[in-house]
């Protein structure tokens, strides 16, 4: 489409049951009481001139362009700050207001450069538009008076610049930073004529700015402008699509000129983000055209050979032959595949279909194995469905927010902004985290209770919270009686009341003060609406699944399920974790979480797919790797995942890969895993994909191709080609057909089609006859499984224990500007914020080991060693060290062990016993040598 300019109503929509009728310029309008005159006018199709107003920001009333006359009211009130009153008669165009507007505009322009033709915002400047609208013809003040025309430009941010000389001090950027992002990095410095936007008295890069870009989007002029627009000019067309970073799934307007992407602007109608974004989604997409990107298929006989670029046909045929040979030699079960949460539902669906049909087995797994597989297990057991219960918007109704093992301020920033807004309105925050993260404490929000538990003791603490609720009679008896399985509840109640689950006993295990646990439990149980949000700090443990069920128990016991403001919500790490799980990527389940052993489901798939289905579960990723080392698993197709960097005990992973005979990697870059591959199939970036992503709130969002595939093929086409080369016919004309097949085979997706999504924007599954437009909140009247199921959750300590040799516990996390293993963000200017991983260590631990701040430390676990830079920090308690895993050179996963969740094998990334000591040399000296394994 041509460039999409979303209508702006000037002030936010008001929700109010009462409405008022007003007459504006002779047009009758009825609006909810409390709606501004400006918005009411806009709804009647009348645009009152404005500069400081924007419907994503609260009315401010500073520009004085929107003055109107109202019968019976003296003066010329600003329409943005004046609420409609019943019977009001408003005139938006009178000689008086026209004269005033022109007078105000004359003042603006008397302190503004007259360089419209060469200005980067030319054509997209509200000041320019408004000067036209009010008919300014002359600036009688001249231009020799005081002005700001020679102010310097701040170009410190890699993505946008701040040109103060063009600033009209409308405060939109300052307000966006406050009201939308919640960082408050911007302010106005000075007063009167000297008022200037300031990043807290320093340049943007040195300030608290998190580069979310809300200010750039809010700016009506070229003052805050994307450098891309400055360099390349204004975009001319828009493609609506979805961000491919985290599980929030922000909707974006990709703005292009020709096929060149100029900028990404968050889309106001995006259900997940409602016009907001973070630094990654808005700015860090340059990796798509990074020179490292491989766009041609490549093959090699041995992994020690150099790569050879070949045609698609040759690569596919080589891969198919290789896989068939393996199956001939080692049996049908000797090959498998891994789907990627980075890919679309359609791409994932065809990969698992290929495995179940062309490969003829159930050896399909997905990278969700290493992140949220316990979520699927735990929520299915308790509620009956493997997904979060709410939409993101729901947090605006929460009174108590419990964040467990997640740091949304870094990892899910757009959700964090929503949460922060609610917290600043007075909601209370409880955080369970071994580390004092930004979520626990930042300049504008502080948790009421930070339960700073030792890594690995989640279940003990959640049990203690439940213990308090049960023993202090805080249970919502009515809810439990009506909605839950009473027998299971009674058994659970008896178990949870055991003295071993009391806060006092748990204090000795977890290190969390018993009184603090009691207070937190009371707070959670007594609020009108309490909501749980959690991340990988819950799942990536030996008791990940138990913990998920523990949280579900807590929510059910307090009646915090089935309405706005409550629930149990996973914050998904990858853009399409939810989707890749929904699409049948697990070895035991078809799409829609139906077990392979279910005969009726089997029949459905066999008839649709025209191939025999296996009824026994296939191998999970760790099983595949173990089987490879045992010599029984020899071929693998890996879609967009770098298991040689992201999976635990990297040495073990690499040995397993090196032992295989046909490794096919489909990716954007030659990643660590591709070092062990025989076939490299070039993947497509999200900017080239056509399909859907499903975010953490079950929202199915359209991903539309912004540019032509750089590889000449869609990924699903390559998959179909491979399936066909292996002897199974798989053909689709387009991605929409794949979704149609998904809908036919999956009851929760029955109503989903590209056509519907193009019409309504997005839907949250279940979307079917019962809920044609989707389901924002689940389990409203009853649980998906019928009655809510309480599951006993005994605390079983992990076997990964500290000892004399490894006395510290290592835990891991993420940072705002980088994403997971960094394959994308490291290939953007985001490295300006975070050039390397660091090891946070408590002063006492550092002191005892002679480790100095900013020096190299050698870190060792049972399975591996690495070197990182030390950062002495009081965010971690003594005995715990912390690092991120964004850079391959630091190899955090060289250290992590093979321990995993009992139910799902999700690795126990969050707990590793380690020791560290000062090191003279950097990490290069210690890289686990892939070359040696590869045999170079």
């Amino acid at each position: 489409m041509t460039i999409l300019k979303e209508p702006d109503y000037g002030t936010p929509a008001v929700s109010n049951d009462q409405s008022v009728k007003v007459k504006i310029d002779g047009i009758d309008v009825e609006v909810p009481a409390g709606t501004s005159v400006m918005r009411a006018a806009a709804e009647a199709g009348i645009q009152v001139p404005k500069l400081c107003a924007k419907d994503s920001l609260n009315a401010f009333g500073s520009c004085r362009m929107c003055l109107v006359e109202i019968d019976g009211k003296k003066g010329t009130p600003a329409s943005c700050t004046t609420p409609c009153e019943q019977g009001m008669v408003v005139k938006t165009q009178t000689p008086k207001v026209e004269r005033l507007r022109r007078g105000v505009m004359e003042l603006y322009i008397s302190d503004h450069p007259l360089d419209c033709l060469t200005c980067p915002a030319n054509g997209d400047c509200e000041l320019q538009d408004m000067a036209g609208v009010v008919g300014l013809r002359d600036v009688r003040y001249g231009f020799e008076g005081s002005n700001h025309l020679n102010e310097e430009t701040d170009s410190s941010n890699p993505y946008f610049s701040y040109d103060s000389s063009k600033c009209i001090v409308c405060n939109r950027c300052v307000r966006a930073c406050d009201e939308i992002q919640g960082t408050l990095a911007l302010t106005i410095q000075g007063r009167g004529f000297n008022s200037r936007v300031s990043a807290g008295g320093t340049d943007f890069m040195s300030s608290e700015c998190v580069s979310c870009g809300a200010c750039v989007q809010a700016c009506p002029t070229a003052t805050l402008q994307e450098k891309n627009v400055i360099d390349l000019g204004m975009p001319t067309r828009t493609v609506l699509t979805t961000c491919a970073y985290c599980g929030v799934g922000c909707s974006f307007k990709a703005e292009l000129r020709g096929d060149e992407l100029i900028r990404m602007v968050p889309y106001k109608d995006g259900g997940a983000n409602e016009g907001h974004s973070c630094v990654k989604g808005r700015f860090a997409w340059g990796y798509a055209t990074h020179p490292d990107r491989k766009t041609k298929p490549m093959i090699r006989q041995k992994i020690s050979d150099p790569w050879q670029e070949v045609s698609w046909e040759e690569a596919i045929s080589f891969a198919a032959t290789g896989l068939k040979n393996v199956q001939q030699k080692y049996g049908k079960q000797a090959i498998g595949g891994i789907t990627s949460s980075r890919c679309t539902n359609e791409e994932v669906f065809v990969v698992q279909k290929m495995i179940r049909t062309a490969f003829g087995n159930n050896n399909v797994d997905t990278c969700a194995r290493v992140c949220h597989s316990p979520t699927g297990y735990g929520l299915k057991q308790t509620f009956g469905t493997s997904a979060g219960t709410q939409d993101f918007k729901s947090v605006a109704k929460a009174d108590v927010i419990m964040v467990i093992g997640a740091n949304p301020f870094a990892a899910h920033p757009v959700f964090a902004s929503r949460m922060k807004k609610r917290l600043r309105q007075g909601a209370q925050l409880i955080v369970l985290d071994p580390r004092e993260t930004e979520t626990v404490k930042n300049p504008h929000v502080e948790a009421k209770h930070h339960l700073q538990l030792l890594p690995g003791t989640n279940v003990a603490v959640i049990n203690a919270l439940a213990h308090v609720i049960v023993t202090e009679k805080l249970v919502d008896e009515e809810f439990v009686k009506e909605r839950c399985d009473i027998e299971a509840f009674e058994a659970w109640k008896e178990f949870i009341a055991l003295p071993e689950n009391s806060p006092e006993v748990v204090e000795t295990i977890s290190g969390v003060n018993a009184q603090e646990i009691r207070n937190a439990a009371r707070l959670y149980a007594s609020a009108n609406n309490s909501a749980i949000y959690y991340g990988l700090g819950v799942t990536e443990h030996s008791q990940g699944s138990t913990m998920v069920m523990g949280m579900a128990n807590l929510a059910m016991a307090t009646g915090n399920i089935g309405r706005d403001g409550v629930g149990v919500n996973p914050l998904r790490g990858q853009n399409n974790v939810q989707g890749s799980c929904d699409m049948g990527s697990f070895p035991h389940e078809y799409s829609g979480y139906r077990h392979v052993g279910d005969d009726s489901v089997k029949e459905l798939f066999e008839s649709m797919w025209n191939a025999p289905m296996q009824t026994e579960p296939g191998l999970r990723i760790p099983n595949m790797l173990d089987a490879a080392i045992a010599g029984e698993f020899k071929g693998i197709y890996i879609q967009g995942e770098d298991i040689a960097q992201s999976d635990p005990n990297v040495k073990h992973v690499k040995e397993a890969l090196a032992s295989m005979e046909m490794v096919i990697v489909q990716d954007l870059f030659i990643n660590e895993t591709a070092q062990f591959a025989h076939v490299f199939l070039p993947g497509t970036s999200f900017l080239e994909k056509d399909g859907t992503f499903t975010n953490a709130e079950r929202r199915i969002n359209r991903v539309r191709p912004v540019m032509a595939s750089k590889t000449g093929k869609s990924e699903w086409e390559a998959t179909c080609d491979l399936a066909k080369a292996m002897g199974y016919e798989m053909d689709y004309e387009n991605a929409a057909q794949i979704m149609d097949e998904i809908a036919k085979l999956t009851p929760t997706f029955a109503g989903v089609s590209f056509k519907l999504l193009d019409e309504v924007g997005s839907v949250q599954w279940p979307c079917n006859e019962k809920a044609p437009l989707g389901t924002p909140i689940m389990h409203v009247d009853q649980f998906v499984r019928g009655k809510g199921n309480f599951v006993e959750t005994p605390y079983v300590p992990t076997e990964e224990k500290t000892n004399r040799k490894f006395p510290l516990l290592l835990t891991t996390g993420r940072i705002l500007s980088q994403y997971n293993v960094g394959a994308q963000t490291r290939r953007t200017a985001n490295v300006a914020w975070y050039p390397e991983d660091v090891l946070e260590i408590h002063e006492a631990d550092a002191h005892a080991r002679g480790i100095k701040d900013d020096s190299w430390v050698h870190l060792q676990s049972r399975v591996g060693e690495t070197v990182l830079r030390a950062k002495i920090s009081d965010r971690v308690p003594a005995g715990v060290v912390y690092t991120t895993f964004h850079y391959p050179v630091s190899g955090a996963n060289v250290i992590t062990t093979e321990f995993s969740d009992w139910a799902t094998n999700c690795p126990e990334y969050k707990v590793t016993a380690v020791e560290c000591r000062p090191s003279l040399r950097g990490p290069e000296s210690l890289l686990v040598n892939s070359d040696a394994l590869v045999g170079k």
Binding site: Q333, T546, P587, G597, W902
Partner: protein, 60 residues
């Protein structure tokens, strides 16, 4: 792994059945076989529920 599962599936009643169900739902036949074999030869290491669970699976 088996031990870990049995520790995490508590409850008085039907515990062995629950454990058996879990192994049936999530483990490949080959993994189960290897586990049966291991448990046969190292019975003393394992809890009664786990041994019962294996029996249930074997008879199915």
């Amino acid at each position: 792994m088996g031990k870990q599962i049995s520790l995490n599936i508590p409850g008085e009643e039907k515990r062995a059945e629950k454990i058996a169900g879990h192994l049936k739902s999530f483990w490949t036949p080959k993994m189960r076989e290897e586990f049966f074999h291991y448990i046969e030869t190292n019975k003393s290491e394992f809890s009664q529920e786990l041994i019962d669970a294996v029996q249930i699976l074997k008879t199915k």
